[in-house]
Structure formats: C-alpha cells, structure tokens
C-alpha cells in the first residue's frame, strides 16, 4: 500500500517537472572550446559558456525571442529596432504603445517563471538582483541578461551591451551615441549659467508634505539634474532616494523645487503644488519656482533619458533653450 502511494507521488512529481521543463531529451557534450559545453535538446542546440562577465549565460548568436521584464530595457530594445523580437514584457511596461499588445510575465517581485518558460525565449532580460529567477533560468538552460540599475553613464553602456547580446550592435551604438550627444548638448547649453540649488522630488502624499521622496546623491535622477545645470541639495547623501522631512527642506533652502509626476491621467498635480506654500521661507516657494514635470520618462532610465534631461534643463534654465 505504502509502496503504491510512494510510486504515485514519484510519478506525479516527474509529471510536474516535465510540464515545467518541456525538454524531452537533453545531452551534455564537451566540444573543442575548453570550459564550454553544448546542450542538445530535441528542438534546438544552444552553445553555452560559463558566465565570466557577470552577464549570465551567454549565446553566440543574436536573440530572436526576447522577454524583457524591465521597462527601461524594453524601451531600449524598441528604440534600437529590435522591438519585433520582443515576445513578452513585464507588468509595468507602458512604452512604446506596441507593448500593450504583448503578454505580461510579472516583474521584479513576482516574475512568472512558468509563463516565461512557456514562451520559449532565447533571451530573458532580468534584474541583476533576481537571484531566484536567474537560478531557475539557469536550471532551464534559458540565457538571460542581468540588468543593473545605476547612474546616467550606465544607461548608454547598457544599451550597447544589450545591442551586442541581441545582435543589433550597430543600431544600439547609434542609439547610445545619439543619447550621449543629446546629453552633451544639454551640458553645453547650461554651461556657465548660475546653477540653482535644486530639490528633485519624485513622490509625496498629495495635498500635504508628508513622506517626501527625493533624489539623493547617486543614481540617474541625480546625474540628470547635475547634467541639466542644477545643484542637487541632497548631493551629499549617498542614496538613490531620500525620505525627506520638512525641516531639511527649510534648512537646505532650495532655489528650485522640481516635482516629477509619472502617473498617467494625473490631472490634479498642478494644483497640488500649493502644498509647498506651507514652507514660505524656502526661496523656491517665495520666488514661485516650484515646478511640475509630468512624464514617465523621468522614472525610466531608458532611451528617453536624453529628452528628459533636456526638459529638466529647460525648467532650470529656460533662457538657455530659447
């Protein structure tokens, strides 16, 4: 009786595993390249190399069935002309409009591994911190590209790296060069102008000054602000985001407060800026330089970062962009 139950459990486990990893036969075989192995499945042969570049499992050829669960890399793929190779995206992808038609496979906290595997991707772009997902993809022999969220210069580096990986290096280089040129142009326009002390806010409770979330001294928002000709009043705090008290805003007295809003259909944002009037001694409030910038490009470190930086520059130095 017990033996029969055991047999049933084992059979059910094997059937479940087979459903999750639908590879009917797998064989590993060494080839001429030391340290590399060739994985033979009945559908495809993919040559794998050990990860020596911290870029995950690599493939020699380009990728044609790509899943990107990160809004920034999805935008990069479309901007470099590889949008037609994207077969699924993450839960939070909104741009370009074409992504609305694609299947969703979760995001940073809730990647749907079963869905990802069922779409048979030849490249999955994941967050570098998604260790569990990476382990599962390794186990399923699915190549991946781990994305790391850092500063402004890393965005163009990532574009080039993704382009190389996907097999569209030239288009990726053109895209990255274009963004770097945009940024250099903004830098040149604001060069020599007085740099206002600026507070870059990307979140707070509406109608109040509670839970103010602002850009700290590291990360792409900080870099964008500095490029656009502002001095980050929180530049000394080596954090990407800082939850700020009203006392710190009063003490650091910014000349400009730039408030970023990224939710679609946010119609109350402009009138909500009145909440800052409570801090009447702050120069930005006194001189009516509490400014609103709306657009999701401010929170997606992707190819629109050049245009977003230019918008920051226009807000800080309108005379330099006439």
């Amino acid at each position: 009786m017990r033996r029969r139950a055991l047999r049933t459990i084992v059979a059910a486990t094997v059937a479940s595993l087979a459903a999750v990893f639908p590879v009917r036969s797998v064989g590993l075989q060494a080839d001429g390249d030391p340290g590399s192995v060739r994985l033979q499945a009945d559908r495809a042969t993919v040559r794998l190399k050990p990860d020596t570049t911290n870029r995950g499992t690599s493939t020699d050829g380009g990728a044609h069935r790509i899943i990107s669960i990160i809004p920034a890399t999805t935008e990069m793929l479309f901007a470099m002309g590889a949008g037609d190779r994207v077969v699924a995206v993450g839960s939070y992808d909104r741009f370009p409009a074409a992504v609305e038609q694609l299947p969703r496979v979760g995001a940073l906290l809730d990647p749907n591994v079963e869905r990802i595997l069922s779409l048979r991707p030849d490249l999955v772009i994941v967050y570098g911190t998604q260790n569990d997902l990476r382990t599962q993809l390794d186990r399923a022999r699915v190549p991946y590209f781990p994305y790391v969220h850092r500063g402004l210069p890393d965005i163009t580096q990532t574009i080039r790296a993704v382009g190389d990986r996907v097999g569209v290096s030239a288009a990726a280089k053109t895209l990255a060069d274009g963004i770097e040129k945009q940024l250099a142009d903004v830098r040149a326009r604001v060069a020599g102008a007085a740099r206002p002390k600026t507070l870059l806010v990307f979140g707070r409770e509406s109608g109040s000054l509670r839970n103010i979330e602002a850009s700290g001294g590291v990360g792409f928002l900080h870099d964008m602000l500095e490029t656009a000709g502002g001095i980050d009043i929180l530049g000394d705090l080596k954090q990407q985001s800082v939850t700020l008290s009203t006392e710190v805003v009063l003490a650091r007295a910014p000349d400009v407060i730039l408030e970023l809003r990224y939710a679609r259909g946010d119609t109350t944002a402009a009138s909500d800026l009145r909440a800052w009037d409570a801090l009447a001694s702050v120069p930005a409030v006194k001189n009516r330089r509490v400014l609103l910038l709306q657009g999701e490009e401010f929170v997606v470190p992707g190819p629109r970062v050049g245009a977003a930086t230019e918008r920051l520059g226009r807000a800080l130095h309108p005379d330099r962009f006439k």
Partner: protein, 328 residues
C-alpha cells in the same frame, strides 16, 4: 497615586517643551518669537512652527493613543500579548492607505491628504467587523474566539494588502513600504487637529473605565459579581480602543512596539491599578514616541530614520532592562 501621575506629567511636559528646540538645524528661540521678522522670511520660526511643533504634537497624540489602546485590549482580552493590532485594526488602516497610494487616488479633501482619510476608513471597516464580533460575543462568544477572529481578520487584511501591492507599480510599492514604516512629519496642524477630536473623545470614554478594567482583568464573573455591566463596558472599551488605534495609525502610520510594550513598561513601574496605569500609559506613551521621533530625526543625519524602526530599537532594550531589574 497623584504624585506618580504628576511625575509622568512633568516628564511629558519637559520632553514636549524641549523636543521642538532640538533638531538637525540650529535655531534661536529669540528669533523664533521675533515678531519684527515677517513669518515668510523667518526660517527659525518656520522650522519651529511648521516642521517641529506639529511633529511633536502628532507624536504625543499617536503615542498616547496606541499605549492606552494597548492597555485596554490587554485588560479586556486578558492577554498580555494583545495590542492595537490584535483585532486587525492596524492592518485595516494600513490596507486603506496602501489602496490609495497604489491606485493613485490622490485627491486631497479639505486640505487633508487622501492617505490618512483612507487609512481611517480602513480602520473603521475593521471596527465594524470587530463590532459585529462583539455582538456575537453577547451570545456567548469567548475571548479566545474574539482573539482568533482578530488574528484571522488581521491575516485577511494583510493578504489583501500584499495583493494590492502586487497590482501596483514598483514605485508605489516603495511608497507603501515607506508609509508602513511610520512617519510623524505631518507638516501641518490640519491632520493633527482632525485626529485630535476622535482621540480626545475616545480618551474621555476610556477614562470612565479604570475600575471596570481592574475587575475584568480578574475575569468577567468576578466583574459581574461586583455589579459591572460587562457587555456594555466591553463594547465601550472595544470601540474606544479601536477609535484610538484608527486615529493613531491614520496620523502616523502603523508604528510598532508602542501599543504592546509601553503598557507593560508602565505596569512594571506603577503596578496594575488602572486608575494609575491609564493616565501613566497615555503620558508615557506620548513621551516615549516624542523621544523616539527626536532620535529618528536627529541621530541619522538629514536622511533621518523611520520612527517605526526607532521605537523597537530604543524600547526593546529598555523593556528588557526593566524586566531583568524587576525579577532578578
């Protein structure tokens, strides 16, 4: 008894007077009250009146409410582990806030952010369910059943909370998590004034209960034999403690530790007589949270630290020290 309460009162007064004078920015009291300088140009006055004073008032209100609610729940449920969250009120309040943050229901009502309003509504829904449970209790539901129902309700709201967060953007999730760490930087007197009304009403109601709490702590049979209308008192206690919890969480977020440990700290100091425990918990709870918030906004530089992280950091070792000192 009067001397003990006066002692706690003096400590509270001292801390409340000193706390607005201390912070990361240096201010001069003479300049704060200098009427020759227009308020819009007086940074010291703004730091004092806009940034610090509402924060201290919020800390007093939230700390007092949570501590008194803890005393009431522990006495009525006759369980030393009971807290303002035992019946799911904090998680209900948290769910309301997380829904508003995640779905960008960002309409301010009469100058009050939608987040505390939704948070209070969440607690009110939880209170409705608690009320229904207390009605069921009239028909013989035991304290154990009430506690279990509270645990189930808390878990249910917690699950909904996680579900809502999964549906949201990662930036919304980040904001929700920050809200759940608690913050007393209210930045205006409106929120404080709005919370003051229900908190005062509930504290007045609880002030009628010390004798009942003493008797109920010994068991309902003992209380009934002394002529206490236990059901009526229980309803009053549950509703008052729930209003205190909902108001406190909507004002400062779900700040942990105060509601469960402060009542025990106070009992270790003053004994079990609720005529002393209730006012002492109100005063000590408020003072404790003002001190925690002072530490949160000064000891960790400009970035500060969520007050919810400091309460346990400061209160945990203090409670253990008190416990060992008492029982060694």
């Amino acid at each position: 008894m009067a001397a003990t309460i006066a002692g706690f009162g003096a400590l509270t007064l001292l801390v409340c007077l000193a706390a607005p004078l201390v912070g990361t920015t240096s201010i001069h009291l003479a300049r704060v009250f200098d009427r020759t300088i227009p308020f819009t140009d007086n940074v010291d006055a703004q730091v004092f009146f806009v940034a610090r004073l509402p924060r201290v008032l919020a800390a007093i209100l939230v700390g007092s409410s949570l501590a008194v609610a803890g005393v009431v729940f522990q006495a009525f449920l006759r369980n030393p582990l009971a807290s303002p969250d035992t019946l799911g009120l904090s998680t209900g309040a948290t769910l309301g806030a997380v829904i508003v943050i995640t779905f960008h229901i960002d309409t301010a009502v009469f100058g009050i952010s939608a987040v505390p309003i939704a948070s209070f509504l969440g607690a009110a829904i939880a209170l409705g369910i608690v009320w229904a449970m207390s009605v069921a209790r009239r028909h013989g539901t035991s304290t154990t059943v009430l506690l279990l129902a509270g645990v189930a309700l808390s878990a249910f709201f917690g699950a909904l909370n996680r579900l809502v967060q999964v549906l949201g953007d990662f930036t919304d999730t980040f904001r929700s998590i920050r809200w759940m760490m608690g913050s007393l930087d209210v930045g205006s007197y409106t929120d404080v004034a709005v919370s003051f009304v229900p908190i005062t009403a509930a504290l007045v109601a609880v002030a009628t209960l010390p004798r009942v709490l003493d008797l109920v702590s010994l068991g309902t049979a003992a209380a009934e034999s002394r002529g206490v209308d236990v059901r009526r008192a229980e309803r009053l206690a549950l509703v008052s403690a729930s209003v205190l919890t909902g108001s406190a969480v909507s004002l400062g977020g779900p700040i942990p530790f105060v509601g469960i440990i402060v009542p025990h700290i106070v009992r270790l100091i003053v004994g079990a007589d609720h005529r002393v425990v209730l006012p002492a918990a109100a005063l000590f709870g408020g003072t404790f949270l003002v001190l925690c918030d002072l530490l949160a906004r000064t000891a960790f530089g400009a970035a500060g630290m969520p007050v919810g992280a400091v309460t346990a950091l400061l209160g945990g070792p203090f409670f253990l020290w008190l416990l060992f000192r008492r029982f060694r």
